[in-house]
Symmetry: C2
């Protein structure tokens, strides 16, 4: 393919580009007559085109050299596309069931061609807001995190030398690492022009966070771990908006923040997002659905996920429990908690065979009767 240099995509140029690129045109069966093209990116950060033909489909994603945020434009390296495809390929090799395949990458164009996740795939966040149940989500995400984090860490026999080479390469994703450091570990705890909360309802809560010195010390410790600990090739932005789902498929996308960081950052981001989704359910109650059953099942699945993660082989297990404890501030069993009946099998296992390392039966037998879910405490506090 001839190099185009960097040029912004539009529909016309897109077709020209695909025709000139065998790894993309072959995915459409080299049929270009009745292509349907839809731009679905937010165009604040990336262009994303879905291209569907009679004989196949493809997604084309192009990074823009800036991000828009609240009307302002920040310059942002389009080199992030390079690290995104590096992570997609590396994670895809380790966990092909849950990472979409990359067909093509063009560094000059900051362009990735990849598998189209066809309907009914939707963004997990939207599904959770709609109250849709995903019985395999816990199992799939624990498999994804086990494979991508465990197998890129030193616990897996990759060797220190190979890892140092990879660490050095991903240090190049410095702008996006710095952005995470700022928006996750710095800005929320001080007055910053980029902070946003649902004003005026949450103003007092936001202030309370900014006045909590004990919290800030804990966050400083987490920030230091985020910045310093090159433990595994992490996704770096693993929230419910980076996951596409159907009833039986879970696909992790958008790893443009990937670098060698602490495993706990991915694990904590995902669990934290689920916890937020859990508490948000009360806001989605309508006359037909009080969401109580959904919340109950959700909680069981969250617990199952936690258990799947801690059922890693022993060294990884120790590490994961440590990281998760740190991330969730789950250092001591909370005092006022409601016990989760440990013998109840999560619904997911009724619907599908378990592929994970320990069964739910062994899970249940490993739970001590005093084990509790910290969620319950918060829920009680909220409902007071």
């Amino acid at each position: 393919m001839t190099s185009f240099g960097y040029r912004r995509l539009d529909e016309k140029f897109l077709i020209e580009y695909i025709k000139a690129t065998p790894s993309l045109s072959s995915k459409l069966g080299n049929q270009f007559d009745d292509l349907k093209i839809k731009e679905v990116g937010d165009s604040n950060l990336n262009f994303v085109f879905i291209v569907v033909g009679s004989d196949g489909s493809v997604v084309i994603k192009q990074a823009l050299p800036y991000i828009h945020c609240r009307g302002e434009s920040w310059p942002m390296t389009k080199e992030r596309a390079y690290f995104e495809q590096r992570a997609l390929i590396e994670h895809g090799r380790l966990c092909p069931d849950h990472v979409p395949e990359v067909y093509h990458f063009d560094r000059d164009m900051s362009l990735i061609g990849m598998r189209y996740l066809e309907p009914p795939h939707i963004i997990l966040r939207k599904g959770l807001i709609a109250g849709i149940e995903y019985p395999l989500l816990a199992e799939h995400m624990s498999e994804y995190m086990t494979r991508t984090l465990f197998c890129t860490s030193l616990i897996y026999p990759n060797g220190f030398s190979l890892m140092l080479h990879a660490v050095a390469e991903f240090c190049g994703n410095v702008e996006l690492c710095r952005l995470t450091e700022q928006v996750v570990f710095s800005d929320p705890y001080k007055v910053s022009q980029y902070n946003r909360c649902t004003s005026p309802y949450l103003d007092r809560d936001a202030e309370a966070v900014q006045e909590d010195n004990i919290l800030k010390l804990e966050v400083a410790e987490l920030k230091s771990i985020f910045c310093e600990r090159a433990q595994a090739l992490i996704h770096g932005d693993l929230h419910t908006g980076s996951i596409m789902v159907t009833h039986d498929s879970t696909q992790v996308i958008d790893p443009e923040f990937a670098f060698y960081g602490p495993m706990g950052f991915d694990v904590g981001a995902f669990l934290g997002n689920l916890i937020l989704a859990f508490f948000a359910q009360d806001g989605h109650v309508d006359q037909g659905n009080d969401r109580k059953f959904f919340k109950f099942q959700f909680r069981e699945n969250l617990w199952a996920l936690f258990y799947d993660l801690v059922s890693f082989p022993p060294p990884a297990k120790i590490l994961f429990i440590k990281e998760m404890k740190r991330t969730l501030q789950y250092k001591q069993p909370p005092l006022e908690t409601t016990e989760i009946t440990p013998t109840k099998t999560p619904k997911s296992t009724e619907k599908s065979p378990q592929k994970t390392i320990i069964t739910n039966k062994s899970r249940a037998s490993k739970q001590s009767p005093t084990q509790t879910l910290p969620l319950e405490k918060n829920k009680t506090n909220r409902e007071k």
Copy 2:
């Protein structure tokens, strides 16, 4: 200067090289008639030439592309000279009093030209074996570690982006990092052809180490921190053989193992070497000197060093205490210990003014009466 490519130094070529290199010839006042040249390297790893003329002096160090060890030759990148001079320059900028100045670097030749540490400078290890007292050592080394470690870490306001660039660069010193990982964190705990102990006297002790599974788990945790935590630009080989001393000068040399690693590795290596030297004193007792007074002073200075290190500004202090506790396995006060009188001022402070952040007076007042030195326990055990 004309590039020579890589060529091994000998006296004749050395003079030719210096004459062609203004940054070196100027240090000799451009006088080459009565140069005295002495090769002092072990020639297993590096050539080191001391060049003294009537108007000045210089040391020339050249890395060889292998290391000799027990008759065998391992290939070893001569690129380590690049990282050595990078660390000398960076640490020298932060702590010019305790790092010799670099005059010249030639990457093709793997050659560093630097300040000659003239007599009576000797290697600290030799001084300690001879029972020589270094009253300023604790103060100087705490200053060196404070400046080089604190100021290359994120606690110092360098910014995350700059640090990631430096981390990526020093990941290039991968061969020497891997060597440390092998000879410090792996080989001693298993049967390995490169292990050596004073056989047969220490055979049983060596076996005991290799059979101690609890110890191996702890070491695995330390190894993971060494490999993963890019906390500061560490020296990487800070034993008493990497330090040259006189009564009032302390100079840290040979940082060829430098990379971004955990501060505790430098702090622990140095303190650990001092502890070894302390216990080795009994082996150096002769009729004229029972070394008791030396050991007493040495212990006091070690304690002073520990205190100097923990008198960093608060965030660094927390971090250092944590790292040192980890390194020294100093988790709980040992049960059977002899108390160190906390109000006794260390001898070093009687001889020289204190430059450190807190005075010995405030130090003493901060010590609780139950604070003890774990050394004492070991000593008691040994003497039983």
